[in-house]
Symmetry: C2
Subunit: 83 residues, 2 copies
DNA sequence: CTATTTTATGGCTGTACAGCCATAAAGTCA
DNA sequence: TGACTTTATGGCTGTACAGCCATAAAATAG
C-alpha cells in the first residue's frame, strides 16, 4: 500500500488514511504534539503552505516516517550511482 | 541508499546530497521552480519552517518523490493491516 | 431521529517564511 | 595564488501560517 507522494494533497490523504486506520481523532493527534485540531484538518486537506516542522510532528504522532527516492524508476533496477 | 527521514534536518541533507550528485547548483534548482537560492540554502540546512509547497517544488526539480511508511518495522514483515 | 463526537471554517494575532537584492564566506579550478 | 563559482547570511516587505477560541457542518452511535 505504498504511495508516491508528489504534492501536499497526496500527503494529506495519506496522513488522513493512516490516522483513521488507527482510530485516532485529529484532536488527539494534535494534542500530543501541540498541533491545533484545525491545523491537522487543513493539512489533511492538502494545505500547501503547511510548515515542514508541523508535518514531521504529525508523522511522529502517527508513528510514520518519510523516505525520498528518485521518480519514475523501476526500483528493481535502481542504481546506487543515481544517488 | 535509502534514508529514513524524521526531521527537517534529515530532509535537507538528502536534498543537498542528491542535488550535488546531479551537479546542479542551488540557483539552478530554484530558478526552474521560482525558488530563491537563499531559500534552497536554508532548506538544505534544515530550516524547520519551510513550507510544504516549497519542499515539493524542490523534490520535483530534482526528480524525487516522497514515500510515507510506518516507523520501526522490518519491511519484510510489514502487514497491510497496519495501514 | 436524536444525541454525541468529529471535522471543517473563520476571526484574531503574533510570528516567520519566501521573494528580492546585496554581499560575505566558502569552495573550485587553473 | 588569484579569478570565478557556489553557498550562506542578512535586510526589507508582503503574505500567510499556526495557535487559540468558537461554531457550523458532517459523521457516527444509540
Amino acid at each position: 500500500m505504498k504511495q508516491f507522494i508528489r504534492s501536499s494533497k497526496a500527503l494529506g490523504s495519506v496522513i488522513k488514511r493512516v490516522r483513521k486506520a488507527k482510530n485516532i481523532g485529529q484532536t488527539a493527534v494534535g494534542s500530543a504534539f501541540k498541533i491545533d485540531q484545525g491545523t491537522v484538518s487543513s493539512i489533511e486537506n492538502g494545505a500547501p503552505g503547511t510548515r515542514l516542522e508541523t508535518v514531521f510532528r504529525i508523522l511522529a504522532a502517527l508513528d510514520l516516517e518519510m523516505i525520498i527516492q528518485p521518480r519514475k524508476v523501476d526500483k528493481k533496477n535502481l542504481k546506487k550511482e543515481e544517488w
